[in-house]
Amino acid sequence: MALSDHFPALIVALLLFSAFLTPPVYRWTPRFSAPLTTFCLSAAFLMAILLTAEVSRSGPLLYHMGGWPPPYGIELKVDPLRSYALLVILGVSLWIFVYALKDLSHELRIYVIGWYYTLFAILVASMAAIALTNDLFNLFVLMEICTIAACGIISIKEDRECLEASFKYLILSAMGTGCYLLGVAMLYMATGYLNFDLLNGALTEAFSLYPRNIFTAAALFIVAFGTKSALFPLHVWLPDAHASAPSPSSAMLSGLVIKVFAIALFLIFYQVFPREILNAVPLTEIVLWLAAAGVMFGSIYAMLQADLKMMLAYSSIGQIGFIFLGLGLDQELAITGGLYHVMVHAITKAMLFMSAGVIIYTTGVRKIKDLAGIGRALPITMLAFTVGSASMIGLPGTGGLISKWYLALGALEAGRPLFVLVILASSLLNAVYYMPIIISAFMHQGEFEYKVRPVPNMMKIPLIIGALAVIITGLLSRPVIVMLQEAVASML
């Protein structure tokens, strides 16, 4: 076997390797630990690219851990959708990590930075594995690892808000995990399988025997993933957690972690449950209304916030609603739009949190009303912020428009123009709370001329890259969209 066949396992193993190697290395020579993690992340990203190329050339790839085939062994699967998720996860986290290198020295005490690298690598590894795994129980373990690592990169700051927020996050997501596991048990009871593909085959038959088990499982999955990815009524943990964390963590959590669970729900709904089960009960209908409510309420809450990061966190609740809207509409184009929004929002929100981080780093300001005139002091940062906001609003030329375009098209195709109005209304609300920040940052006079620290290049360059990426996702989206559309069409 060629080495490239092992990439699915190697990506995860390499990241874990870097995670466990970092603490001793950091203790021994702190200088080496950052390059080490960066190297491992880039190598993993490179592998993901090669893997994607491989998958697009020769179709889905299965990998059996330890050579044990399912139902006994753990199976990893790479299909176009998963490789897309993998690319987004690894690419965005590498990008955030580069930014984090500088920002962390400001936000964390020096001796925990090594631990931060460890947690970061574990988080990325678990997310990559969530995207890859083809086994429900393995997914459970990975979700727990992911949650602990995510809580870890919040609570590592060790101030009171962070600790409290991460505890809240931990408890609520423990509830989510409990529900998930119960759902898995229900499916296991009905079929005796945990592997996605085997379950998919067996569920049709089991559905006639134990319909209640299977419905309950699906509903529990919605609750579980809804909690973990902050679907509307289950979002209560998110704002505190995302706002109080160090900025790179916020970028990571808002940008990737909540999306990963959304992707997992996509995979479970479309790769595990056969169509007739989804058609038999209005599960997607529930998701649809919750998502629409989330889109609206997230935006409305965001308008009421005084703290910049709090506002961005609430905005994430609205944006995750867009992703679930795709699932809820249960229609090819809408799902494509929702999945594309995973990438768009990952890049955009990460960039917005990064620029908030730069603002806090250079001026120490967190309140929105204190941002007046900051655009003159930090032009590049605020330009990046502007580009990000444009994408959030969905202005043409940014990725936000593309995903909204597909979502709206899907809503029309499904015969539900009402949800197009929801999308438009949320865009308007986004405009109403993002625009004043930009306007006051560039147009009003503030007293920032004297107390601004210079922005280090290590923070500036990721921001510029992010702004370019947002524009690229808006203009050169065609290949990704075509790939996603094919993947979705084959799933439906």
């Binding site: 139902p71 006994y72 129980f137 459970f140 373990v141 727990e144 690892i145 949650t147 602990i148 809580c151 870890g152 609570s155 060790e158 101030d159 009171r160 808000e161 600790l163 409290e164 991460s166 505890f167 931990l170 408890i171 423990a174 509830m175 995990t177 409990g178 596991l181 119960l182 048990a185 296991y188 009871m189 945990l194």
Partner: protein
């Protein structure tokens, strides 16, 4: 009567679900954080119980290969999975407890409601 029969036949499942509900209710309604953690463990354990009960075959032996044992074993797969699950649950517990100790250092209380009050007072 049929329902009762169903309950009696599936009493492991029923117990597991009851424990799950008790655990989740305690976890979400009690303000004390350590209580929340204990309840979380109960909740997890109940699901594990459900899993193992699913894998159990009536009259089956433990899945250990011993000389002279005949063929009927309980399904070992849920056992292997639950093993992992318990470890995961314990690690979450450990992490939550260390968080609680740190939170106590800041707020002087383990009561979540009191913490919320303290925060809103600021």
């Amino acid at each position: 009567m049929e329902i009762l029969q169903g309950i009696i036949n599936n009493y492991y499942y029923m117990a597991a679900i009851i424990l799950f509900v008790i655990g989740m209710h305690t976890m979400l309604t009690h303000a004390n954080m350590i209580k929340k953690v204990i309840a979380m463990n109960i909740m997890d354990a109940s699901v594990f119980l459900l899993f193992v009960a699913v894998g159990y075959r009536y009259g089956g032996q433990a899945p250990i290969i011993v000389e002279g044992a005949d063929g009927v074993y309980a399904n070992p797969l849920p056992g292997a999975l639950i093993l992992t699950g318990i470890v995961v649950a314990v690690s979450v517990t450990a992490y939550a407890l260390s968080l609680i100790v740190k939170i106590y250092r800041f707020y002087g209380t383990c009561d979540y409601d009191e913490i919320c009050e303290l925060r809103s007072d600021e």
